[in-house]
């Protein structure tokens, strides 16, 4: 886990608001599924490839992220082409690649905090009627960030202790003590958060003065 996937920069996509980008991506997806002809789909793929190139990412990074999906898409293209119809296979391949590259371009050019803000804004109506609590969502997201290095460290400690006793790599012998350990610390963390009275109570509503 080495930070987020986005890269710094000042290209057109970087400057665009996160909400607009997400909206455009949804619209793009809907349009792609509306057509089955290869010409508009190929144009769409060309557009999203141009967008991806405009973000200024390195070839090595693109290869690392896109090789896996590319394999799956190629396999699906072949499977659909053979099982259903050759043209359908081409349409499927073009559409999926266009969607994946466009989504990747948005991810590359949008900071996590900006996306989180959009999601908070989307949740706000639900928050108001009491279905979700956006403070709790924010808390849980930051807790995940905190837990991951703890888990990795603890896994290393347990593995070293077991190696010292001559125990070889064994998923059960590693995961059981690891999970028991982090569950214990989870209780401490919950108590600590409660002791600090988090999440802060909502500000009092303005009362109408008679």
């Amino acid at each position: 886990m080495n930070g987020s996937l986005n890269i710094p920069g000042h290209t057109l996509l970087h400057r665009l608001g996160a909400g607009w980008k997400l909206g455009a991506l949804c619209l793009f997806g809907l349009i792609l599924f509306a057509t089955n002809h290869w010409i508009p789909l190929a144009i769409a793929l060309a557009i999203s490839l141009c967008l991806l190139a405009s973000t200024g990412l390195s070839v090595a990074q693109a290869r690392k992220q896109l090789t896996g999906p590319l394999f799956i898409v190629a396999f699906l293209m072949l499977a659909t082409g053979l099982l259903v119809e050759p043209m359908q296979g081409i349409a499927v391949g073009l559409r999926l690649m266009a969607l994946i590259t466009a989504g990747y371009a948005v991810t590359l050019t949008t900071q996590v905090s900006a996306l989180l803000e959009v999601i908070e804004r989307l949740f706000r109506p639900l928050d108001r009627i009491g279905l979700v609590n956006s403070a709790q969502i924010a808390l849980s997201v930051s807790l995940v960030f905190r837990f991951i290095p703890v888990l990795i460290d603890q896994a290393r400690v347990i593995r070293e202790a077991q190696a010292a006793r001559g125990l070889d790599r064994n998923i059960l012998a590693l995961l059981v003590p690891l999970i028991v350990h982090v569950l214990r610390s989870a209780d401490d963390i919950a108590c600590a958060i409660d002791a600090r009275a988090y999440p802060p109570p909502a500000p009092p509503r303005k009362r109408q003065v008679p």
Binding site: S4, T80, T107, L116, I119, S140, L175, I179, A190
Partner: protein, 189 residues
Amino acid sequence: MNTRDIVLIALFAAITVALGLAPRIPIAFLPVPITLQSLGPMLAGAMIGPVRGALSQALLVLLVALGLPVLAGGSGGLGMLAGPTAGFIFGWIVAAFITGMLCKMWIGQGSRSGQGKWPQVGLVFVACVIGGILALYVCGALWLAVVTGMGVMKAATGVAAFIPGDLVKAAFAALIAHNVRRAYPIELK
């Protein structure tokens, strides 16, 4: 939803991420290596219950959407949620819920003293197979069928190749959940 629930939800989302960081096991001919990550939803359901388990996986989907490299092999981002295998990612929410639901019904609150070790492990294993494999693959195959336009049956036979590996993972999940519960019982919620 108290603070402890939130901490447990975040913890199991983090465990699912950490499982994706474990070394992958490549399999000849298959483009997708087997990862330990799909242990995550099974463990979440079997150990903290249906609602909290499903929420922990929903939190993971949120992190994917935010563009964090939380999926196996350091991938993530909106591209993964639009791709052909996205049904399996969304399916984790359903998988954790169903696994947790069955565990809650069969095992109940804490470990039942009347049952021996192996019947209990067996029940959790069956819950993991139904929730973590059957329900998950239904979600994955339906999404794949919609995205590619191939029939549901064809998509289902395509994804069935991964079931043997997942059966092994379900057995691991059952053993881990049982052993952890013996050391540290948590009420399923």
